[in-house]
């Protein structure tokens, strides 16, 4: 277990270094950073002087090393556009994205898994068929379209929910939350549903497929043959076995929710990291782009690490203790 964890940590560091290299290459090779910083009337001498002061004429590896050391401390330099440290900007925007993602993930899991289980158990029921048909819509309609349709219905026609922004937020230290005000919660509903819908249908279909597979196994049949009731077989035996492969996908999807909140944030003008990233791309604000890239990679790596450890919790076969295996 420990050696496995160490191995995984080393792999994660390697992944992060690779991502850092790409992020660094953005800085270094997409346009000239000096050009981006100074005005048009700066003389060549001044430029060369600035270049030297910022260490931009150092060898590649020295610069990369400096970038990694800074990034490890959360320093990604100063945004060209906002003239403020990137770390500050991210800290400001992160709560919005994380709250949105968290709610979406909870929605996707809390609705997706029970629906998957239901459709697997009542395979031919009319409700299952309805779920399956609806899920086809969820999986095939693009996110932005769902967002726009929701805005049209609940925002424009019915006027129940706000169509953009976070509503009122409350500051808890550096964290700004929308959960504590009525308008904040109202503003959260539509973006969260939009973001969750695709993941929800995906989880539902996955759980259904895995569960059907497990329900065909010998141990389920043996369970029935020794008189265990359906509720026990479905939820204690089958669901647990279903979760082993499902956990991986859910983990990856959580990362995807955070990383690809961009579209939802754009549609709803949600003041999160995704929106900031889109604006940064428009303005060629490379420090923000690089920081976003590294952050998303970090989130994926951390989630994967957690998923790997969850395997150990769920599946005893991975907790290898050969000494106890015997005849």
């Amino acid at each position: 277990m420990i050696s496995f964890l160490i191995k995984r940590l080393l792999q994660s560091i390697l992944v992060m270094l690779t991502v850092a290299l790409i992020a660094f290459a953005l800085f270094r090779y997409v346009g000239d950073p000096i050009n981006n910083m100074v005005g048009q009337d700066t003389t060549l001498e001044e430029r060369a002087d600035l270049r030297e002061r910022l260490g931009l004429d150092d060898p590649f590896f020295v610069q990369f090393g400096r970038f990694v050391v800074n990034a490890a401390q959360g320093e990604f330099g100063i945004s060209y556009q906002h003239r403020r440290p990137v770390s500050e900007l991210i800290a400001e925007r992160a709560p919005a994205t994380l709250e949105l993602s968290l709610l979406s993930a909870i929605l996707a899991i809390a609705i997706g898994i029970p629906m998957g289980v239901y459709t697997a158990i009542h395979r031919d029921g009319w409700l299952s068929r309805a779920f399956m048909s609806l899920s086809l819509i969820g999986i095939s309609l693009p996110t932005f379209l769902i967002g726009i349709l929701l805005i049209l219905l609940f925002g424009v026609i019915l006027r129940w929910l706000p169509t953009f922004g976070r509503g009122e937020v409350v500051q808890l230290g550096w964290w700004s939350t929308g959960f504590l005000t009525w308008s904040g919660i109202k503003a959260l509903i539509m973006p969260a549903i939009t973001l969750a819908l695709f993941q929800m249908t995906l989880i539902m279909r996955l759980v259904r497929a895995e569960m059907l597979e497990v329900l065909r196994t010998d141990f389920v049949k043996f369970g029935r043959a020794r008189g265990l009731p359906d509720r026990y077989i479905h939820f204690k035996t089958a669901l647990k076995n279903t979760m082993v492969p499902v956990i991986t996908i859910i983990g990856l999807q959580l990362g995807a929710i955070i990383a690809f909140a961009i579209i939802t944030e754009t549609v709803f003008q949600w003041p999160g990291m995704g929106l900031m990233f889109i604006q940064a791309v428009r303005e060629v604000d490379i420090p923000i782009m690089a920081a976003y890239l590294v952050m998303i990679a970090l989130i994926f790596v951390i989630i994967n690490l957690i998923v790997d450890m969850l395997y150990y919790v769920v599946d005893p076969r991975l907790r290898v203790d050969r000494a106890a295996t015997g005849h």
Partner: protein, 570 residues
Amino acid sequence: MTLLTIKGMRVEFPSRRGHVTAVQDLTLDVAPGEILGVVGESGAGKSTIGNAIIGLLEPPGEMTAGEITLQGDRIDTLDEVKMRAVRGARIGMIFQDPLTSLDPLQTVETQLIDTIRENLGVSEREGNERAVALLDAVGIPDPAIRIKQYPHQFSGGMRQRVVIALALCGEPDLIIADEPTTALDVSVQAQILDLMKGLCRDRNVGMILITHDMGVIAETADRVAVMYRGRVVETGTTEQIINHPTHEYTQSLISAVPPPGRRLARFPLVTYIEDAQERPEGLNLETHWLGQSRDYGAASDILLEIENLHMRFVTRGSIFPSKRLFLDAVKDVSLSIKSGEVFGLVGESGSGKSTIARMITGIYKPTSGSIRFAGQEITGLTRKDAAPLRRQMQMIFQDPFSSLNSRMRVKDIIAEPIHFHGLASSNAEAQKIVNDLLDVVGLGAQAAVKFPHEFSGGQRQRISIARALATRPRFLVCDEPTSALDVSIQAQVLNLLKDLQSELDLTMMFISHDLPVIRQMCDRVGVMRHGQLLEVSETESLFTNPQHEYTKHLLDLMPKFTGFGAQAAE
């Protein structure tokens, strides 16, 4: 008073192309404490009976006629809720594969206690006491400790004991055991059968023992019902059925079991089976392989020589060498096989038999040691240099279902090695060779355009044999070629292999765990255990005068099945 009575049972599986009748006119009864054996070959409807009794027929199968009575209560008409009270508490069931019968994610304790409490409604503490007592009763040492473990921490035989304990949780009066020992080694099989016999006697529990193995029936059952194509063709006491079978099918089924006591020239065939096929005449060397003879030199006296062969697998990798775990699958094995000889390799699962076969044919690379084929060392050869030697040795695998590519036509499957080794100048020539090979194995050229799924297990194994012969090999490695087949089919395939061996002057390595089969097939035999070769001797002297303790032990465990067939052949 009888425990269970089945009268006129009929089970049908409706399908788009009409109803398939799996079981018809079935009438059986079981008394308390009695073991009723139900024997038959695959597809005879044995397992369907068990599933129908317990009300767990795979949909869309249903019982369309007849009645089942358990202790005077009719149970086939009960609804799902009432039927659940019968399952576990009155009828227990044991399945074939102990590796897949247990929930891998829950401890044995949870599975046992939950089953006991669901069935008997006792307190948690009493459930726990009963669970430990049950594990003790099925012969699991240190039950209080082992009960905390997960199924994967038990060996196959131990898991089957756990399965039996689970089946006993609700204190049933009847146990249905569906091939309970088929997945186990001979020595474990004997222990499990003893255990089941003892439990039935002590607890006065009736048992229906479903199996394809006459040996198991002979040692365990009190009475036997023989099934053929969904019908019971004969019922009687075990002694009666084995020694004086009256139905023709039973007679041929019993005579097809290879006798352990003697060596026969050929395996008796089950003539009762309509599609039993045997090649009409011997091999015509004029037309075989376009009349070409083998293009490699005359065989030396010793064809294959293995010296100090060793194979080590890493079971747990680690960056620290001291933390690594290894499994030595083959330890320091030396043997030699003479030209034209059939060399048998026998041992229980995990003894390293198949690993040796895979090293000879180049699937595994040995850790150390040497393999010489026709005087040439083959261990260090490159792929290209080894190709002409690989051509001379071919392999036949155990599972006829997974060893043929299901997306290729039979003619392409057999032609593949011919093309790979560049043995035919044109496609037409290759097809001629293929057609001839199909004749040789008794399938006929019309099989060429079909796909593997259109064939039965025995026919598929014939296709495997044709494919192995496609490169005109002189050395065949047969790795348990018939253990997935029914006895009647086994007899056909083994006869075919025997004929081909003498007609084509093949040298063979024949791997099996089945001692009677080894005795019929092989000239010399090597006995393996835990990766070591314990003893090599002439087949007859191995059986009559075994040297090693383990060989004696194996021979003791061999089912002493000498029934009707043995007498009839005398």
